[in-house]
């Protein structure tokens, strides 16, 4: 069964929750009891319309303040496939939420208020989507009803975003512009009569047309070991196999592989899953495999094809999105989690920080604060095998953990 995950981003009051509620309503995904709750609540607040944001805003504080605080996941399906929408809030912790949502999404909706046009937040959302190399971007120009469905307002936003795209690093992004009114339902699921000048797809038609690829995309095969399976039952006395999830590409029995970091060469002997054996495992599969030679493999090691060994080193340059209230400071040490491997990293240099408004890189700073995106060089306590994020998403990213608070403080994309 196919699942397409979409992240939505926008500033406070851009109408994200309303848009999602509208999608649910128009695709008939709201069940009667949920709809009834929305009708009641809208009435009690004295609205003459249905406040669809009530469908998604889940926490008490959110409903009280009419804002979204934390990433919410919304599920619906069409005859074609299932959808997961990660609704990411657009205020204080916007970068952190946006990165969280976008990292597992195949497509991204950026909401722009037709009255306000492209603002700093729009640029930030665009930049994060570009940094994460999200394939499909939809710029939904919302609240078109409040600008009398004026085509020139829409065109202006389109040309401003296209200027941003021209400066961006990752050029392979598909960007689609759609004029909508989430509140009134124009061009969300149903085509609007108010935008005769717009001949493109509605938002939902566009979703349905997106080609479904897993977010890690096709790359060299990478199999990070999660655990070693050694049954305690007597009849499996000599059994030893490696459990993990396969990224980037397929692996087959007989493939010549190398175990990292030991660089031991061997072959894949068996691919197994729940009592069955297979000749080939598709990327994305959780599986168990065994190797020809009796080699020493443990959690944190990675199995790769011998013809495609990743880069290695004790230094790393990466773009980092900082997600913690505690700033990242020069010379600080963090635990670096790369797949199933954990090592220590020390911040050697913070080379630049992105100034979102001007899209310029400022120079060398002493720390990165919450929501900052900067380029950093790090020293590692052990040799790490890695790819650039552009080449291989699964082995091209990592998280930084603050050992004092144990929180996930930052996410890095390797250059």
């Amino acid at each position: 069964m196919e699942v397409l995950k979409i992240v939505t981003a926008g500033s406070v009051d851009d109408g994200k929750s309303t848009l999602i509620g509208r999608i649910l309503y128009d695709t008939k995904s709201l069940t009667d009891d949920k709809l009834e709750a929305i009708e009641k609540k809208s009435q009690s607040r004295g609205y003459d319309y249905l406040d669809f944001s009530l469908a998604t805003d889940g926490l008490v504080a959110e409903r009280e303040q009419g804002i979204t605080i934390d990433v919410a996941h919304i599920y619906f399906s069409t005859d074609n496939r299932s959808y997961i929408i990660a609704d990411t809030p657009g205020h204080v912790e916007y970068t952190r939420n946006m990165v969280t949502g976008a990292s597992t999404s195949q497509a991204s909706v950026i909401l722009v208020d037709a009255r306000n046009g492209v603002i700093e937040q729009t640029k930030r959302h665009f930049f994060i989507n570009n940094l994460l190399r999200v394939k499909d971007i939809i710029v939904a120009v919302n609240k078109m009803d409040l600008v009398d469905f004026d085509e020139s307002k829409f065109d202006r936003i389109r040309s401003d975003v296209e200027k941003l795209a021209a400066q961006a690093n990752y050029k392979n992004q598909s960007i689609t512009f759609i004029p909508v009114s989430a509140l009134k339902g124009d061009n969300v699921v149903y085509r609007s009569e108010n935008t005769p000048w717009y001949t493109g797809k509605t938002l939902m038609e566009h979703f349905e047309s997106i080609e479904n690829q897993d977010v890690y995309e096709t790359a060299d095969a990478r199999f990070p070991i999660q655990s070693v399976i050694r049954p305690k039952q007597a009849d499996y006395h000599d059994y030893r196999a490696y459990a993990g999830k396969l990224y980037g590409n397929d692996l087959s029995v007989g493939d010549e592989v190398t175990i990292l970091p030991s660089m031991t060469k061997t072959k894949i002997k068996e691919i197994q899953f729940f009592g069955s054996t297979y000749d080939t495992a598709k990327r994305g599969s959780s599986l168990t495999l065994s190797l020809e030679n009796d080699v020493n493999v443990s959690r944190g090691d990675t199995i790769v094809r011998s013809e495609s060994i990743p880069r290695s080193g004790k230094e790393l340059n990466a773009t980092i999105c900082w997600m913690d209230r505690n700033p990242m400071r020069l010379a600080s040490r963090y635990e670096l989690q790369h797949g199933t491997n954990k090592i220590m990293a020390k911040i050697k240099d913070i080379k630049s920080v992105l100034e979102v408004q001007s899209n310029q890189q400022s120079h060398s700073v002493d720390n990165l604060v919450l929501n900052d995106i900067g380029t950093v060089s790090m020293q590692l306590n052990k040799t790490l095998f890695f790819d650039s994020y552009a080449k291989n998403k699964s082995t091209g990213c990592f998280i930084l953990i603050d050992k004092q608070t144990n929180t996930t403080a930052g996410v890095g994309f390797i250059e």
Binding site: L59, R63, D70, H73, R230, A243, Y278, D279, A281, S286
Partner: protein, 300 residues
Amino acid sequence: MNRILENNPLENEAIHIIRETVAQFEKPVLLFSGGKDSITLVRLAQKAFYPATIPFPLMHIDTGHNFPETIEFRDRLVQELGLELIVRNVQDNIDSGRVMEEKGKYASRNILQTETLLDAIEEFGFDACIGGARRDEEKARAKERVFSVRDDFGQWDEKNQRPEVFDMLNGNIDHGQNVRVFPISNWTELDVWSYIEKEDIEIPSIYFAHKRPVFERDGLIWSAFDDYVYREDDEQVYEKIVRFRTVGDMSCTAAVESNAFTISDVVREIRSSRISERGARIDDKRSEAAMEKRKQQGYF
């Protein structure tokens, strides 16, 4: 013939999460209710470590108000799979006076479970509790992480959750903290039923249409079972063909009228349903924030 392994993405994700849990924590446990979601978790855990056995025990917080069918099913499942089962009883805390039983028409032991759960976590030193909650069930659950950190009091700090990027899960915790793990976060109710159908997983009989003595209250169908479920004198008992869409206590789970006698009937029924799964949960009807409040207090 070339045999190709290609599982559905939700199954791959769930198995990845269960394996990460065992690798990153010292004492995981699977919170087992006898409901379809935790039964699905058991199958996923079997697959994750096969041919080794599931490397953690199951734990059931027994309210004493469970459907007898669920308890029979639970005991048979652990015996067949050779699993370790821990049972802790809400009744013990009631008897010792630590918690007070609710009174009246809507009395339920649902909330009382939290205290027993937190005691058991402390008693065994569990640092990761794997649960079958799904984000599509309820609005507060929609904001839950896969690894959800709880403090010593089991409290959920919903405004300060760790970001989870790609599928890297950070299981670092302080001593005394524990993590609730939700491997089927991204599954919908229909996904679970479709999986049960495809995998041919056995589930308790109350999920299928059967004849049962019931009574009606507030437009919901309640089980008539006078030992556990309070009933007014004027609430007439009659027999009806019903099934249960979720399985909680008898006192907090309403039945639905149904002709779904087989698993494929159930899948068809869910596909065309206009009422949400928790629409028949009496415990959620208490207030709009009922689930959020219970979660903050350490509920599943």
